[in-house]
């Protein structure tokens, strides 16, 4: 186990960072946030195909890179740092991992298309789904003779998807997005808006016989979301530091006031801890590729690392964005400054895939700290 970054991971980071610096500066994300919220198709094409990010988690024999959660985590750090409006988490991590875990010819064929970035997919579940709340399967969609009917709310990445992976009647189905109705709703997060997805006798091909792959995908998504939150928090800290070194009041840089220095030192430490926790989760997910959520036997270590990372990083990212706003003063309240994109993403990420409280609750079992006995 290592919590550091390998050379290969740093090279991947540099490639992603260069692309984002070139194609996705904060001003461009801000401009696109209203005209085409959550979408930069050209950027996604470059990331997915040219850099090969779409196929990172896909085995080599299916045309993917056969890389691990560690590499995907580094991509997410950079995407978080740029609040990049691309469906990497929803397609290349969550939907892809569900299909990897499905196995089977139908899933493998779809993975071949995903690997080269020809197809983009999304899991048709609410972004607010907690990985721990799946003991009873979501009943939103039912399947009858290969036809799906029902409605799923707050689906992230559906607007960018050609393919939807849909849990229905206890199994997983692949649906062409064009056959469903995808309505993007006005969302708190301007760079990853959610959509309402409606199926009305929509044809679906079975790809998974049960919901185990869905649980694994949610756990993978939750564990790697921590790296996105880390990158986001790092941007907020770096941007705040640059500001307080520049901004003068009382004839001094405001960053020379001890009250602000101590707050920023504490925030830095919170991010140091977030980095260690996010790397811990990515490393655990990478070492046990078969492991999923808490209810899967022998996967306790992975589940624990994911829960720890999410319990900490969700809060840390929100805190970083809120401190960034406060320490920018009035400038921080303006639409013109991109930091509100980070605040909105951070707050949405806090709810995504289990709140920090959901993950702490899960640790009662995972860390053997049982709840009080009933009175």
């Amino acid at each position: 186990m290592t919590l550091l970054y390998s050379e290969v991971e740093e090279e991947l980071r540099a490639a992603v960072r260069d692309l984002l610096a070139d194609r996705c500066p904060p001003a461009a994300v801000l401009a696109g946030a209203e005209s085409a919220p959550g979408r930069d198709a050209e950027l996604w094409k470059a990331l997915a195909r040219d850099i090969g990010a779409a196929g990172l988690l896909i085995p080599e024999d299916l045309g993917g890179a056969g890389a691990s959660a560690r590499e995907a985590a580094v991509v997410l750090e950079e995407l978080g740092r740029a609040v990049a409006p691309v469906p990497f988490l929803t397609s290349a991590v969550m939907a892809t991992w569900a299909l990897v875990r499905c196995g089977g010819d139908a899933a493998r064929e779809l993975l071949g298309e995903l690997a080269v970035g020809e197809t983009t997919a999304a899991l048709a579940v609410s972004l607010a789904t907690s990985p721990y709340a799946l003991s009873t399967p979501p009943a939103a969609v039912r399947a009858e003779a290969g036809r799906l009917t029902g409605r799923v709310t707050a689906v992230a990445g559906a607007d960018a998807a050609d393919l939807l992976i849909v849990p229905a009647s206890g199994a997983l189905y692949a649906v062409d997005a064009a056959d469903a109705v995808v309505e993007v709703v006005t969302s708190l997060d301007l760079t990853r808006p959610v959509a309402m997805v409606t199926f009305d006798g929509t044809p679906g091909r079975p790809v998974g016989a049960d919901l185990a792959p869905l649980r694994a995908a949610l756990a993978m998504g939750a564990g790697l979301l921590a790296s996105e939150q880390l990158g986001l928090a790092e941007w907020c800290l770096a941007t705040t530091l640059a500001h307080v070194k520049e901004r003068h009041q009382f004839a001094r840089p405001i960053g020379s006031f001890q009250a602000l220095k101590h707050r920023l030192a504490d925030l830095w430490m919170e991010i140091v801890q977030a980095r260690a926790a996010a790397r811990g989760a990515a490393d655990a997910l990478a070492r046990t590729p078969g492991a999923g959520a808490a209810d899967e036997g022998g996967a306790g270590e992975v589940a624990l690392a994911v829960a720890v990372a999410q319990a900490w990083c969700g809060t840390a990212a929100v805190h970083a964005a809120e401190e960034c706003l406060q320490l920018h003063g009035g400038i921080g309240m303006t639409w013109e400054h991109p930091l509100h994109l980070y605040l909105k993403r951070a707050k949405a990420d806090e709810i995504a895939l289990g709140t920090p409280g959901d993950h702490r609750d899960a640790l009662a079992d995972l860390a053997d700290l049982p709840a009080p006995l009933p009175a």
């Binding site: 530091l241 020379s256 220095k261 101590h262 140091v272 926790a277 720890v308 640790l363 700290l369």
Partner: protein, 392 residues
């Protein structure tokens, strides 16, 4: 030649073949272990090490589990602070003289840094060292000195030039605790015991070959000690759920009648914080394996202090009526530093020192802000003023 894991394992095997841990007197075993380069593998050969990467130490520790060990609590200052400083700044002669008995525990070390008038502002310290031929004559008072009552040697910072600004006039020495003029008085703490001491230095004569580093370079040498101290306090390798957390989680599991929903929520919060701090420490040690401790160690020490205080406070509260009791207020001198020993009341009180010793949490935040984050310093009244002209 770089020493790898296999080579270290081979060394340990060969060492154990020659020295049966069950049949060798403990001190002989520890001396032999030092001579075999298995004391601290990242130290140079001949000085208790193999010149190997630091992370291979864990290979040695695993392989030598159950063999005679030195008392880490008693030797903490020697191992964590004096040794790396001697290694970095000592002469060959000093390294050969001091490191072996330091590691085996034959000679215990203490630290003569803080003074009644120089705590957070260490560089303003007033203990004087005046040159007299081949010797230095030291006069002053030091405080908060753990283990001075059983220490053979001390690391000492003293003022050798009062006419220059405060950081420039300091020199670093090894102080002979048996020299005439060294007087150690116990300093009773809020726990009731005396782990710390006041040390009075009156006309103490130290030969010049006990100087560590150049005359006037004491601040730089002391910085190396302090960085190592923060890593020693905050970066001790821990297992998940270990340290202060082990005490409270054991109580939690064994005493279901004490559990409430409020305590449960707060305990889970702290458990997560302890785990991410442990991971941050583990990551720091991985980085350390490649180089010297940087200011990042200050962050882990800061987090460690906060956690110890919060966890020990929660445990006293959780125990309710038992929390009203204390095991023993009898004045006594402790033989070792132990943050986790004795009862919950002791742990709660002792943990209060964690945010003061080795740099207060406030000073550590300044260090992080200025040295890691590059934030500008506060305007200062003591810059470029000779030490003797500073208000005191």
């Amino acid at each position: 030649m770089t020493v790898d894991e296999t080579a270290v394992e081979e060394r340990v095997r060969a060492f154990l073949a020659r020295h049966d841990p069950a049949a060798t007197p403990p001190l002989d075993f520890l001396r032999a272990r030092f001579d075999a380069g298995l004391a601290w593998v990242h130290f140079p050969e001949g000085l208790g090490g193999l010149g190997a990467p630091r992370e291979l130490q864990s290979v040695v520790e695993r392989a030598l589990t159950g063999t005679p060990q030195h008392d880490v609590g008693r030797l903490a200052i020697g191992l964590g602070m004096a040794a790396p400083t001697i290694l970095a700044f000592g002469t060959e002669e000093q390294k050969r003289r001091f490191l072996r008995p330091l590691w085996t525990g034959e000679e215990v070390w203490c630290q003569l840094f803080s003074e009644p008038g120089a705590g957070s502002d260490l560089a303003t310290l007033a203990t004087r060292a005046v040159r007299d031929g081949d010797e230095w004559v030291v006069d002053g008072q030091k405080v908060w000195t753990s283990g001075a009552h059983f220490a053979r040697w001390a690391i000492l910072v003293a003022r050798t030039d009062p006419d220059v600004p405060k950081h420039q006039g300091l020199t670093y020495f090894v102080c002979d605790m048996r020299a005439p003029g060294v007087e150690v008085r116990p300093l009773r703490q809020i726990t009731g015991e005396a782990e710390f001491n006041e040390v009075f230095l009156t006309g103490v004569r130290l030969p010049d070959d006990l100087r560590l580093g150049a005359v006037g370079d004491g601040w730089r040498v002391a910085q190396a000690t302090l960085m190592n101290e923060r890593v020693a306090i905050g970066g001790a390798p821990g297992r998940r759920g270990g340290g202060m957390l082990a005490e409270i989680t054991e109580t939690w599991r064994n005493r279901p009648e004490l559990r409430t929903h409020d305590l449960h929520r707060r305990l889970l919060d702290l458990w997560v914080e302890a785990e991410v701090t442990r991971l941050a420490g583990a990551r720091l040690r991985e980085q350390l394996a490649a180089g010297a401790p940087g200011p990042e160690g200050s962050g882990v020490k800061l987090a460690f202090a906060r956690l110890n205080q919060a966890l020990s406070g929660l445990e006293v509260e959780m125990r309710r009526e038992e929390g009203l009791l204390y095991d023993d207020w009898t004045f006594r001198r402790s033989e070792s530093v132990d943050f986790f020993g004795r009862g919950p009341g002791y742990r709660y009180l002792r943990a209060k020192g964690n945010s003061i010793e080795g740099g207060t949490s406030e000073i550590l935040r300044n260090i992080i802000a200025e040295r890691v984050l590059g934030l500008p310093a506060e305007p200062r009244a003591d810059k470029n003023v000779p030490w003797k002209d500073l208000p005191r």
